[in-house]
Amino acid sequence: MSGRGLFGRIDWITIFLYALLVFIGWINIYSTSLVDPNTSIFDFSTLYGKQLFFIGLAALGIVFVLFVESNFFERFASIFYVISIVLLLGLFVFGKTIAGATSWYNLGFFNLQPSELAKVATALALAKFLSDIQTDLKTGRHQLYALAIILLPALLILPQPDPGSALIYFSFFFVLFREGFPLYFLGILLFMVILFATTLMFGTVWIAIGLIILTILIYTFKRASVKIPFLPVAGVIVLSILFSLSVDFVYENIFEQRHRDRIALWLSLEKDEKKLDEIRKTIGYNTYQSEKAIESGGFFGKGFLEGTRTKGDFVPEQHTDYIFSSVGEEWGFLGTATVILLFSVFFLRLIHIAERQKSDFSRMYGYGVISILVFHYFINIGMVIGLLPTIGVPLPFFSYGGSGLIFFTMLLFIFLKLDSNRLKDGI
């Protein structure tokens, strides 16, 4: 087997899917940013021209990653992590502000966003820490270390302010879960989110009534042989009600008005139809336009370069965060469903690859990569189609932007490089 070269060992299916996604993404950036059809696609003054340039840079990055020694990444993981933390700290002093967020370094020809680099570094560092022979996730101390690795960059990114990027770091919990971090944390987190939302919608009284009815139902219909001790259940109910009581306070006092507006819109908290419509068209303007654009695509879409709303620049930020709405308008349900399918197959393929790793480090890093990508995909498309409140994160491989594309590519290809080496790991 060792006789086969790098090209024989690398996972071509993933590369094919990757290339397809980048291509579809670029096609849509072209469509959203085309002004004069007579300009060349290599015109670097246009957004699609620039994106083409970034794709070229990403290709260079791929070449670089593939020809570096495989264990380079494992060996230097800690150093990458430290560097990215330093870069994040440096933003407080040298950062360049774009659209209100101090998240960039100005490199002249290119704005570098270190939070993208930090994602790669954190994935590597977390994998390295977890794969250490002495690390045992069952001990509280090591759980704490793992949490620290994840949350440190998130805490530095949050005040930029870039809550969207900070939120992405929570995706690393999936790596922890895969590696034996107790799953009930996820359950508790999910339960809290549901409680939070339902309390805002129905009020604490109904939550309490609902919980009690649910408990009674469970006790009534459980099999006689199953014993559920009463006291812990009562405790959960009491804690839930207390949590529910605190929701209003947090909502009114900790959240800012724009957050409240977004949540109010998301959960349709405003009962007055007229006011709700008003919010939809002001605070929810982006989502409103994006939903309308997607909706107007219908089943077949309006066709490439035919999207009237895309052409009219009706959806703000359409080439970056809202790129998926262009797919929806011009390619219709056929297009959007295809993209969702492509992403899903792509992710499942990556999970398959991760699971076949012999090296713990490779597998854990792989999970990190997948978690990050899935989180971006979930939050971005969820927002664009109006299922989630507005949180600004890009759609991997699709959204316009150099830092994003290059680091998503690096993130992925480091994993593919590790994968191509998996047979050697065992030796």
Partner: protein, 622 residues
């Protein structure tokens, strides 16, 4: 489990997304939504607003073209601003602020730069327009009035506001809509329906032809011309007579309920609310809170009716059988309520119904009123009966006239007095003022005219209305063509009408007879009070008069109400008789009287309470 967690999450997310997308793109998608698409431009074709004619087919309201100078900020090329401003007749600062406003509104949509140029300005400007790229002239249609009267009845039109846009999807910003009067009431008839063309735009905002080959386009529907029941000549004449006086006049045709004239004083020329000076004029009218020219006194003022109301009390007493025309009451230059003497100006003596009406004897009507209440075992029952009779004449509630405004007036009922005095703490003598039309009764001039028409018809009325017909069809809302019967039998009207006719022959209005025309009428003199700077003071009485003529086969019934005109016959009676003569004979024979009425004003009366000095009321000054 832990190996499958992420995979299952991915699958679940995938299904959720596909589900949401099918909802959006398959379920919510409709081919028609293209109509809301901002990339499809709609161009409107406005039909001409319907003309308004008077009952004799004379034009009252037509249309005139006006020219707006429009600008599309994005397309403007550098220009000689000074020259352009002088052409437009504005100064440079105004030009700059207007351009900025247009740019803020939208760089690529047209805004009005200078509205409503006159024809003359348009002619000079038109030739030079082509030098100014990004500007163009848009023609639009404004109202044109062939009369300077009837402003409040006709109403005015103005640009739609935010509220209209939100509540009626038909309107688009910048369109005109009827605001008051007939323009508002018959808005949908008059305006017609605009035509729509859909233009497909490409991404450079260029027109690339009709959308779907114009399949969705519609042609404009002409606004319908309407004929109203007003008599232009009578209306104009009435407004001339109201010169310098405040009050309201309503004249009806009893046999149809058609409103012949509806006059409110002071009023204004309807042309004031058209054209470039519109907003300036509107503010001036709107903020005149003392004489209130935009407040239509003929349908909004609710004074006590005074003595004309006695006729209804007479009718109710006859219907209830508590008096007959020869029943007599003695007048002691007044009548006693307990030990208090309430005055009467009739001269005293024994009064029957006839002289009770034509001398307007308070004692007579106090007597009949008491008898009516004595007939029933309880005051409450009597009150109900009385209220029923009064309300059957269209008093105490909205009449349902086809005008967008109006007032209900008031006929007090037992609940009203229970609240006022306490249950069981009032009786006929407590509310005896109602017998003579003072007290708690209130009625608009329109209601008084309608009441008079019901008497003229001997027992029924048609709801007063201003619409005669619309377009070529002669049909109007059937509620205006069905008689409303009063609770009084026909036979009881003759003695009352006899009394009203004698008002002219021997009674309170014997000085205002018209040669050859027999009139039935009733004077009224209404005490009134006003509060200026918190101080309550009594003013000169309101002068009220209701009349119809001729007595047999009545052609006109009217109510005239003149604020602070002193006694009934003085202003209201004279004005009423002139209007009747004008309407029935077409010309005025009593030139002296006419001249006096046209020239006399009551401005000195209206100035009194604001003079800050003590003043006398009810002065006899000719």
């Amino acid at each position: 489990m832990k190996k499958l967690l992420l995979s299952s999450i991915i699958v679940i997310i995938g299904f959720t997304f596909i589900g949401r997308l099918s909802y959006l793109q398959l379920f919510r998608f409709s081919p028609d939504q293209i109509l809301d698409d901002p990339a499809i431009k709609k161009i409107y074709d406005y039909p001409e607003r319907g003309y308004i004619y008077d009952r004799n087919g004379e034009l009252m309201v037509g249309n005139q073209p006006a020219y707006d100078v429009m600008v599309i900020p994005r397309e403007v090329q550098p220009l000689d601003t000074l020259e352009f401003c002088s052409l437009l007749g504005i100064d440079k600062a105004t030009f700059i602020t207007k351009m900025e406003k247009a740019r803020v509104y939208s760089p690529r949509l047209p805004s009005v730069l200078v509205p409503q140029l006159s024809k003359e300005d348009y002619a000079t400007l038109q030739e030079k327009m082509r030098h100014y790229v990004g500007f163009y002239i848009q023609k639009r249609s404004l109202r044109y009035y062939t009369t300077n009267s009837a402003a409040n009845v006709l109403g005015y039109i103005s640009e739609v506001n935010e509220w209209d846009l939100q509540n009626n999807p038909y309107y688009v910003a910048g369109e005109l809509k009827g605001r008051t009067g007939i323009e508002k009431q018959y808005e949908e008839v008059l305006r017609g329906r605009k035509g729509v063309k859909h233009i497909q735009k490409d991404r450079f905002n260029r027109d690339i032809g009709p959308y779907k080959e114009g399949k969705l386009d519609t042609l404009p529907e002409q606004g319908t011309e309407i004929r109203i029941t007003l008599d232009k000549e009578l209306q104009e004449y009435g407004e001339k007579l109201m010169h310098g006086k405040r009050g309201g006049i309503v004249a009806l045709e009893p046999k149809s309920g058609e409103i012949l004239a509806m006059i409110s004083g002071p009023t204004y020329d309807p042309s004031l609310l058209v054209g470039r000076e519109r907003s300036k004029n509107y503010s001036k009218l709107h903020y005149d809170t003392i004489s209130k020219p935009t407040w239509d006194r003929s349908i909004l003022a609710e004074p006590s009716p005074g003595s004309p109301f006695k006729t209804l009390n007479a009718l109710a007493a006859l219907q209830e059988g508590v008096v007959d025309p020869s029943t007599k009451f003695r007048c002691y230059h007044g009548f006693y309520v307990g030990n208090t003497l309430r005055g009467c100006h009739c001269g005293g003596g024994v009064r029957d119904m006839n002289s009770g009406i034509y001398q307007s004897c308070n004692a007579y009507f106090a007597g009949t009123f008491r008898r009516l209440f004595d007939k029933y075992p309880t005051t409450d029952e009597a009150m109900d009966v009385w209220e029923k009779h009064m309300k059957s004449f269209g008093l105490g509630n909205y009449l349902g006239t086809d005008l967008p405004t109006g007032r209900p007036g008031r006929i007090p009922d037992k609940d009203f007095y229970d609240k006022w005095y306490g249950d069981g703490r009032w009786a006929a003598s407590t509310i005896i003022s109602n017998a003579i039309g003072q007290g708690e009764i209130a009625a608009t001039p329109l209601q008084l005219a309608n009441m008079t028409a019901a008497i003229a018809n001997r027992g029924y009325y048609y709801i007063p209305h201003v619409i005669k017909n619309m377009g070529s069809s002669g049909t109007i809302d059937p509620k205006y063509t069905e008689p409303n019967y009063t609770t009084i039998d026909r036979k009881h009207f003759d003695p009352v009408i006899q009394g009203m006719a004698n008002v002219y022959k021997y009674g309170t209005a014997r000085w205002v007879q018209i040669p050859d025309v027999e009139i039935a009428g009733k004077t009224g003199t209404v005490e009134n009070f006003v509060r200026v700077d918190g101080e309550r003071m009594q003013l000169t009485d309101h002068s009220v008069f209701v009349a119809f003529a001729p007595v047999e086969n009545p052609q006109i019934a009217l109510a005239v109400y003149i604020e602070n005109g002193y006694y009934g016959a003085r202003y209201a009676g004279h004005i009423a008789s002139l209007l009747i003569e004008k309407y029935i004979k077409g010309e005025i024979t009593r030139k002296d009287l006419e001249k006096r009425m046209l020239e006399k004003t009551l401005e000195h009366e209206y100035a009194k309470p604001y003079s800050g000095e003590p003043f006398k009321i009810n002065e006899y000054v000719w």
